[in-house]
């Protein structure tokens, strides 16, 4: 099926093919007779060998041979010699079949099955493997079989490492060997207690080794992924850390009781409008964790009992792990000024998905001021659109050092945990940076630029909590821009990376004299992806209009969002809006002028907790209809996304999907909606 040249069929070819086909069919028919009648005579078994030699993919023949072997082994007159002869036959048939097709699943499995009967020696199997692996060093069947033999015959990891090393020295372009090496090394890292020591010694050697592969031929991918793994091993601290939180340490939170829609109610802008009588505490970790609950996180405040707090992971489906966790503190309606203390991880229980325990307890505190509003006697009225007014917004940009407000950094938890034990990490990174700068000075290659960008980012991320700035951002952004030109096939990949670095790089500057900002403008920045959420937890109103966002993955972390504009972006499906389902405060949403409905392939259908995935307690009752005249089958995405929203205002014009019919479905799904595309609803 693969790699055969296209030829016009000639009559003599067709005749020959037909003759061969008839012969094979006769063989097959005869074989079926033996198989279905359970005939295991010598001739019958020989016939199956002939069949498998021509067609090792004829799986039923392998099954038949296993039945024949079992038949012989159960005969009363069998003895060790006859058993050996029977099993030897099987091994011979497998070898013949593999010669015909050394990728035959049936053949390799049959050999494993024979081996399980206790025959053959490790030397024998390794000899066979050597033959096949020399013929094709990338044959994954052989590698898998090798791993099976090594394990069942208890070959040491060191011996197998040596074999992989030999294969690599024969030919650096051997991804399979590098892969095997990474498997063996991780197993060794895990086994040794005090894994850091071992890594400290082994990783520099592995870096030297991989350089030979990458620098010999930078365009060969075999070493790229191994190097990325080495980098990951160098920078990843096993134990998870709290990266940021909202409210930030030392901040003041002003809660204003009621929501009003005339402008004056938005001042002061530090106010958090809460119409639910509560506000969230958001914990943002540097990797997904589980086990966050009122035992492992204690919240001390005068007006709430810690045990009553329920911590929720912000993740898709029913996963009990997440990077972001949130709990809601109920606020009394009376005048209140109180201090809240949050202690994270003082008792054990928080654990990362990789299995590492949260071991650096941290604490942050903030003040809460509750100011109940005078209620208007009339109902809340929406006199005008909520406009994203200029003066409300903090402008994103490059300001001089003096006017920088480190409001972002207030959120960042200072982790004083990094000790001198981590010096080897910095040294390793510095050395790699030097090596790749050298490579790039000799040859302008994609892997050089990409790796250097990753190294510089890793270096900054490791030093960030102390250095308080990202030293290499400009260079990293330039590298990604270069890559977009050097490797246009993967343009969007580099663009996404570029967007995240851009977001992490800049600081907010004040455009008014407000201490605690709540609004952020990030429009017209060519952002293709959102990121840096650990810095953005404070944002209540976000303008992301006129960018190139086709995903808002991660936005669920911004729990304070009440007003969001995604106008003029590249969102292509309703399911892409799923992160917004977790934003309980969201009241105003603008998704106008996107591309929802343009294409029939939905790329976020499975990353969201879609009812098409059978997670336990799948949220959609499949027999439901929105109303008697709106069938679920045609509108399940809209129903799934919007039914839990609490929006007052929605803009959706400019999307292919947003015809009158669809808009009327939306109105039925969201009865509380007050305004759709600028039109007041009753």
């Amino acid at each position: 099926m693969h790699g055969r040249p296209r030829k016009a069929p000639k009559p003599e070819d067709e005749a020959a093919s037909s003759a061969k086909a008839q012969k094979l069919r006769a063989l097959q028919t005869q074989f079926f007779t033996f198989h279905h009648n359970k005939i295991y005579t010598k001739e019958a078994v020989e016939l199956s060998a002939k069949l498998l030699e021509i067609n090792p993919e004829s799986y039923t023949a392998w099954n038949y041979r296993k039945l024949a072997v079992e038949h012989y082994l159960n005969l009363p007159d069998c003895n060790p010699d006859s058993i050996k002869s029977v099993l030897d036959d099987e091994l011979r048939v497998v070898e013949n079949a593999l010669r015909q097709n050394f990728k035959s699943y049936g053949a390799w499995h049959h050999r494993k099955w024979v081996l399980s009967k206790g025959h053959s020696s490790i030397d024998n199997e390794l000899r066979l493997l050597d033959k096949f692996q020399k013929a094709d060093s990338r044959n994954f069947h052989a590698w898998n079989y090798r791993r099976y033999v090594a394990e069942s015959m208890k070959r040491s990891e060191q011996d197998e490492l040596k074999y992989a090393e030999d294969m690599i020295y024969t030919n650096f372009s051997n991804y399979s060997a590098w892969h095997n090496r990474s498997v063996l090394l991780s197993a060794l890292f895990e086994k040794k207690a005090g894994g850091f020591l071992l890594k400290e010694k082994v990783l520099p050697e592995e870096y030297e080794f991989i350089h030979q592969a990458i620098f010999t031929d930078p365009d060969d991918q075999s070493g790229w992924f191994y190097h990325l793994w080495l980098l990951d091993q160098t920078v990843t601290t096993d134990s998870p850390l709290l990266a940021s939180s909202w409210p930030g340490h030392g901040s003041d939170v002003l809660l204003v009781g009621d929501r009003c829609y005339n402008g004056s109610a938005f001042s002061p802008f530090s106010a958090l409008h809460s119409d639910s009588g509560s506000f969230p505490i958001v914990l943002y970790f540097n990797q997904p964790v589980g086990g966050v609950n009122s035992s492992t996180v204690t919240v001390e405040c005068g007006f709430n009992k810690n045990e009553d707090l329920f911590w929720k992971p912000l993740s898709a489906s029913n996963s009990q792990t997440a990077r972001v966790w949130v709990a809601h503190l109920k606020v009394p309606s009376s005048d209140l000024h109180s201090t809240v203390e949050v202690s994270v991880g003082h008792s054990k229980g928080i654990i990362s998905t990789r299995g590492f325990v949260y071991s650096h307890p941290s604490m942050f505190s903030f003040k809460v001021h509750v100011q109940p509003m005078e209620r208007d006697s009339s109902q809340v009225s929406v006199a005008e659109n909520i406009s994203l007014r200029e003066e409300n917004f903090k402008v994103y940009g490059t300001q001089s050092e003096e006017s920088i407000i480190d409001s972002f950094d207030q959120l960042i938890i200072k982790n004083g945990h990094e000790t001198t034990a981590s010096n080897w990490r910095f040294e390793a990174l510095a050395k790699e940076i030097e090596c790749f700068r050298e490579l790039l000075s000799l040859v302008d290659c994609k892997i050089g630029k990409l790796t250097l960008a990753r190294l510089l980012k890793a270096y900054d991320a490791m030093s960030y909590p102390f250095a308080n700035k990202l030293v290499h951002s400009e260079e990293v952004l330039e590298l990604y821009s270069d890559l977009m030109k050097l490797d246009p096939t993967h343009y969007q990949f580099y663009k996404d990376e570029h967007s995240i670095v851009l977001l992490q790089k800049y600081k907010v500057s004040a455009s008014s004299a407000i201490c605690d900002p709540i609004c952020l403008r990030l429009n017209n920045l060519s952002l293709s992806r959102m990121g840096a959420f650990e810095k953005l937890l404070w944002v209540q109103m976000l303008d992301l209009s006129h960018n190139e966002l086709q995903s808002i993955e991660g936005l669920e972390a911004m729990q304070l969002l009440s007003c969001l504009s995604l106008r003029n972006n590249k969102l292509r499906s309703l399911t892409a809006l799923e992160p917004l389902r977790k934003l309980k405060s969201l009241r105003i949403l603008d998704i106008s002028y996107n591309q929802i409905g343009d294409q029939s392939i939905d790329t976020t259908r499975y990353v969201c907790s879609s009812p098409l995935s059978h997670s336990v307690g799948s949220e959609l009752n499949r027999d439901e209809t929105v109303t008697s005249d709106v069938a679920l089958i045609n509108n399940w995405e809209a129903f799934f996304i919007f039914k839990d929203f609490n929006l007052n205002q929605l803009d959706i014009v400019g999307n292919t999907i947003a015809d009158e019919k669809f808009k009327s479905v939306l109105v039925k799904i969201m009865p509380k909606l007050k305004q759709l595309d600028g039109k007041l609803l009753d």
């Binding site: 099926m1 693969h2 790699g3 055969r4 040249p5 296209r6 093919s17 037909s18 086909a21 069919r25 097959q28 021509i54 993919e57 004829s58 799986y59 039923t60 099954n63 699943y105 990338r138 994954f140 590698w143 898998n144 791993r147 991804y175 399979s176 892969h179 095997n180 990474s182 991780s186 991918q221 075999s222 790229w224 992924f225 993740s315 898709a316 489906s317 029913n318 996963s319 792990t321 246009p488 096939t489 993967h490 990949f493 996404d496 086709q550 029939s600 392939i601 790329t603 259908r605 499975y606 990353v607 907790s609 879609s610 098409l612 059978h614 997670s615 336990v616 499949r622 089958i633 399940w636």
Partner: protein, 313 residues
Amino acid sequence: MAELAVDKHVKYILAVEKNKDSFESVVMDHLRMNGAYWGLTALDLLGKLDSVNVDEVISWILKCQHESGGFSGNIGHDPHILYTLSAVQVLALFNKLDVLDIDKVATYITGLQNEDGSFSGDMWGEVDTRFSYIAICCLSILCCLGKINVEKAVSYILSCKNLDGGFGCTPGGESHAGQIFCCVGALALTGSLHYVDKDLLGWWLCERQVKSGGLNGRPEKLPDVCYSWWVLSSLIMIDRVHWIDKEKLVKFILDCQDVENGGISDRPDDAVDVYHTYFGVAGLSLLNYPGLKAIDPAYALPVDVVNRIFFSG
């Protein structure tokens, strides 16, 4: 740019179905059930499923079912999980799942789950993550996924996750686009995609696109049209498909057509077969090629077939 020669491909597929006498056909005899799935799904995507005789197909499928509930690749062969999925998928295409004794099929599949959560292909015990995907996809179509131990099935699949973000056929097995499709698909169907490092895997997958615009299955291998499915559907399920150049891939697939005789091959100017014809058409569907039905990346069935299974009133 070339165009998709729809009529030629339809003719080719129908001809392959009828031709049982060539050597190629006899050698593939044992996987005719897979061939039926490839050919018929391709016809459905091309809008021509009604060109075949439904009753004939169904009667042949049912003849391939064994006492155990499993289906064989063709009449006379032994049952195997591979052909059980294809049988169920073809019946789903024709909206004829009701001819099945669902409990019987489910029993066959649940019987193949091992202690560690993995699945064997048949009674002889070969274990491979392909079979995990098959079990999950099959029972999902039959709306009885809860009959297997889903949690253990997922944890076995995760034990096959590699350090490059990809997945192999067994723990420690090298990442391969086909296995990645199976594992990502199985995780998608069980709502478990949050276990996948989408950025890491996304980069590995997008680097399958080589200069010619085609996709290979793992580093330093040749591009092949079938990877337009395995790699592409995986990228779509984890929402990273924008990391490849879609236009270049469309061009590569179209260049693999035999525009005179119909059919698509693994590489330009190679011999065509129904396997690559299906994956080429399915790949084009995922790339929003005009005139094709949309295909679901996890079930590998047309979206309207999947919706019908889940939302039929």
